[in-house]
Symmetry: C2
Subunit: 154 residues, 2 copies
């Protein structure tokens, strides 16, 4: 699929993930050992009133679900490749609500902008708006990913 | 320290971290199981020519080093609190070079902008430019963090 073939405003469900006390602590003990991520007692007396997930855990789960979704699409014949795209980075990561143990978040990606990328004219830049919401639709996390995709050869 | 007291263009070394095959695989097996992150044989035949770290691993390490740095500052009496600041999110994460096993990255934060935050006029927004470079100064990762800091009461 070439850059020109990608439709805008198409939303894809990437998958869902349940944050548990176990996986929250496992991530935070290594990468974000703040008391309200790793210490139940201290977290209970923090402004959050209990353990919450590290924001970087919430972010990393997006990658996990994206890889699993892409792999399933390849296996189903719905995508030609699971090759990684070239990305000039991501932007605007926002953590809207604390993620508590027992919360299941549904991650989605919506194609949101197609831009020129002058330094590599044979590619276009696709932006996707990514969100993580609970079953009631409350927004917990969002960011914009950006990938360079080859244009159709002329 | 109030928002008004924070000087711009001050660079702080947050700490350093050595990416190893062990910690690269441990992160990627859970959160980013692409072949070039978790499978030595497949990685050798990928465009990267070997295992590289997940970009989200490189990102999470910033949090790890920031927490350790803040804790050390509190213990040394150089900071009054290790309380978490309120953040409206981060922006412009960029992965400039692949991170291979054996690479040690030095993470730094430089205060780079002080902005008004109209929805919370008793706070100001401090932006920091964060970089991860090797000992020779080559840039691997960068992003901008943003924290709301209380202004001095009038």
């Amino acid at each position: 699929m070439w850059f020109e073939d990608i439709p805008l405003h198409v939303k894809t469900v990437l998958g869902s993930y349940t944050f548990t006390e176990e996986n929250i602590l496992a991530f935070a003990r290594i990468y974000d050992p703040q008391p309200f991520h790793i210490d139940k007692e201290a977290a209970a007396h923090s402004p959050y009133g209990g353990i919450i997930a590290s924001g970087w855990h919430t972010a990393a789960v997006w990658m996990k679900l994206t890889i699993a979704h892409r792999r399933a699409a390849v296996e189903a014949g719905a995508a030609a490749t699971q090759d990684n795209y070239v990305s000039p980075g991501v932007r605007d990561l926002r953590w809207h609500r604390p993620v508590r143990p027992g919360t299941t978040l549904i991650y989605t990606n919506e194609t949101s902008a197609k831009l020129d990328w002058p330094s590599r004219p044979t590619f276009g830049l696709l932006e996707g708006t990514n969100e993580a919401r609970d079953a009631e639709g409350a927004l917990y996390y969002s960011f914009v990913n950006r990938v360079l995709i080859a244009r159709r050869p002329k």
